[in-house]
């Protein structure tokens, strides 16, 4: 098992390295950091050239890449072109915010998705099954940004109705709230409710349906028939012989969907005006802040790779057949 993990880890590192190169090239060819300057008539050619030299943009691509990459390895992502702040600081702040959203949404969505899927399979064709199917279709077809805004509007309307700030709809925190851990924690969680709900609704839609189908397949498997033939009680048959088997495929799906979950988080953050990765990327793009965009892409790619690694480990734990591999 340890060997399995180490092997997976060993593959991840060159993968991230490759990703870093691709990221660099992509950003280099899709934007001109000097665009704003160029379109400004009062700035001379010489000034533009000077700025170009200052930013090191007159050097060949590979040199620039190597420079950037060596910096990254030591934790230096360069400085923001906008306010000269070290990008790593900006990133750090943004990530802690977004991870809250991602962590909450991911864990709850997996739990709910699995639970609903398993329940629907066990009570196939029941009212619960039909209802959860219908809701799954609806939320699976839902645009994330619209749902976020709808929930935000709903929150505002409810607040207006009861004349009390029950739902927080702006930002990830209230900076004026100070106090002990519990007060701050309560404030942060309060701000998380609607955004996390947005992500959960959509993710659970897809995952519960998949889990349902998987569970149904497992329930009709030959080894379940064997378990019944042994005289095991229905409870034991389900707990011991179906659940673990049914969890294996969903791990793969969650890993595949992680990138989508991140995109969803980015969008949701913009709707609720969070100061997380979403805002960082959009601002970075609008300001043509290449260092920020590069760092953003690399970090998110690394997050995807790492998450996939975690999923692989979980998979290896659940399924003994792939542990050798």
């Amino acid at each position: 098992m340890a060997g399995f993990i180490l092997r997976r880890l060993a593959i991840s590192i060159p993968l991230i390295a490759l990703a870093s190169f691709l990221v660099f090239v992509l950003v280099a060819v899709s934007g001109d950091p000097l665009g704003e300057l160029r379109s400004n008539p009062s700035i001379t050619e010489a000034q533009i050239e000077a700025r170009r030299h200052e930013l090191g943009l007159d050097r060949p691509l590979m040199t620039r890449y190597v420079d950037w990459a060596t910096g990254v390895v030591t934790g230096d992502f360069g400085r923001s072109a906008k306010d000269n702040e070290p990008v790593v600081d900006k990133l750090g702040r943004a990530i802690t915010v977004t991870l809250r959203l991602l962590g909450g949404a991911l864990s709850l969505a997996v739990l709910l998705g699995v639970a609903i899927g398993v329940a629907a399979a066990l009570k196939q064709y029941s009212k619960f099954d039909y209802a959860s199917t219908f809701f799954a279709f609806v939320f699976f077809s839902m645009p994330v940004f619209w749902l976020a805004a709808v929930l935000k509007d709903a929150g505002i309307r409810i607040n207006q109705l009861i004349d009390f700030r029950l739902f927080f709809t702006i930002g990830e925190k209230d900076p004026t709230v100070v106090g002990g851990f519990l007060t701050v924690f309560g404030d942060r969680v309060g701000h998380m409710i609607l955004p996390v709900l947005t992500l959960i609704l959509i993710q659970v839609a897809g995952w519960s349906r998949y889990q349902r189908a998987t569970m149904l397949d497992v329930l009709s498997a030959d080894y379940v028939r064997t378990a019944r033939a042994k005289g095991l009680s229905p409870g034991k048959v389900i707990l011991r012989h179906t659940l673990r088997n049914a969890l294996i495929p969903i791990v793969t799906l969650v890993a595949i969907d992680f990138g989508l979950l991140m995109s969803g988080a980015v969008i949701t953050e913009t709707v609720f005006a969070w100061n997380g990765m979403g805002r960082l990327l959009v601002r970075g793009l609008l300001d043509r802040d290449t260092n920020v965009v590069q760092a953003w892409l690399l970090v998110s790619a690394a997050m995807v790779v790492l998450f996939n690694l975690l999923a692989d480990v979980a998979y290896g734990y659940l399924d003994p057949r792939i542990r050798r591999g």
Binding site: G31, A149, A213, T214, A221, T252, S263, V293
Partner: protein, 329 residues
């Protein structure tokens, strides 16, 4: 999540097209039951599929709804009589609530919202259909070539597929779209890039089918008769993958429209003065509380469209490959 991901319309989908790799269960959308050998089998098979599809009342109803939505979207001004780009000629005013004159009201500068929703829907649907066309073609091609030739070509193509699968779609789209911000050609670039990130699941699927098909006797027979590889792929293998291809193509439409609208919502998609459902929603968000008609109609249209597409897609999937475990709707 469906939206910024035409990449994965099926795995996150309502019944798995992603075969669980372990643990015993094995749902799979296998190849068409009857093979296309001399053209004769095809007709009866299609009739079977059509029959099964028609039995799904919800899928049929959704198809009707879809048709209506598309007709409304493409009929343009003839329906409402207003221009999506200009304040209405009768200059009745701005920010009007819905009325018999303006079915969805008007926006801040007096443009009829219904006309905007129409235009937005039209653009968004156009993009989605093109993406479905391109990504399906590319995916089917890559998959069939990989499955047919196997060996090194297969390994190489699958590595590329896997690499593309790890690309964060939205982020890359944003970076590329940023470059073309302000340009009206933006939408075309988007079509290509979204397609370029959406073909992988179908490639995997088709490859699986091709792998199993190439072992069948009719492929050997075709080769013995001297058919070229290209001919075998196009006339024998691909026609037998039509089921998964059609289902996947349908679902990609939903995924693609959600991606494009997400981009437009953020301001990176279809650029003003042209509209997309996403950009309409984007400008409607701040007004959601006070002028609901700017925000909810475009969203409802989008939701309804995707819902209908997904129901139809699910019905098609069941029509091509019926399984007992589906909830009959």
């Amino acid at each position: 999540m469906a939206d910024p991901g035409p990449v994965h319309p099926t795995p996150g989908g309502l019944t798995p097209a992603l075969p669980p790799p372990a643990g015993g269960p094995g749902p799979s959308s296998g190849p068409a039951e009857e093979l296309v050998e001399f053209g004769v089998a095809v007709r009866s098979q299609w009739r079977l599929v059509l029959g099964r599809f028609l039995r799904h009342r919800l899928a049929v109803a959704s198809l009707v709804v879809l048709f209506l939505l598309v007709v409304i979207a493409f009929l343009g001004e003839t329906l409402s009589g207003y221009d999506y780009g200009r304040p209405s000629a009768d200059a009745t005013g701005s920010s009007l609530a819905p009325s018999t004159d303006h079915w969805f009201g008007t926006d801040a500068i007096g443009i009829d919202v219904f006309a905007q929703v129409q235009r937005g829907a039209q653009r968004s649907i156009e993009v989605a259909l093109l993406v479905a066309l391109f990504s399906t073609s590319l995916g089917a091609l890559v998959g069939s070539v990989a499955g047919y030739y196997r060996g090194f070509i297969d390994a190489a193509l699958m590595r590329v597929t896997d690499l593309f699968l790890t690309i964060p779609t939205l982020a890359v789209l944003l970076v590329v779209a940023n470059r073309y911000r302000g340009s009206q050609a933006n939408w075309l670039v988007l079509v290509f890039v979204i397609s370029g990130l959406a073909w992988m699941p179908l490639a995997r699927l088709v490859r699986g089918v091709a792998l199993s098909l190439r072992e069948r006797e009719f492929v050997e027979a075709a080769r013995a008769v001297g058919a070229s590889d290209a001919r075998i792929i196009f006339r024998h293998i691909l026609p037998n993958c039509l089921g998964p291809i059609i289902v996947n193509g349908t679902l990609v439409v939903a995924g693609a429209i959600l991606t494009e609208t997400a981009l437009s919502y953020l301001g990176f998609g279809i650029q003003p003065p042209d509209v997309s459902l996403g950009s309409l929603i984007g400008s409607g968000v701040p007004a959601a509380n006070t002028r609901w008609w700017l925000f909810y109609p475009p969203g409802m249209f989008l939701l309804l469209f995707c819902l209908a597409v997904n129901f139809v897609g699910d019905g098609l999937r069941d029509a091509f490959d019926p399984q007992q475990s589906r909830v009959r709707a």
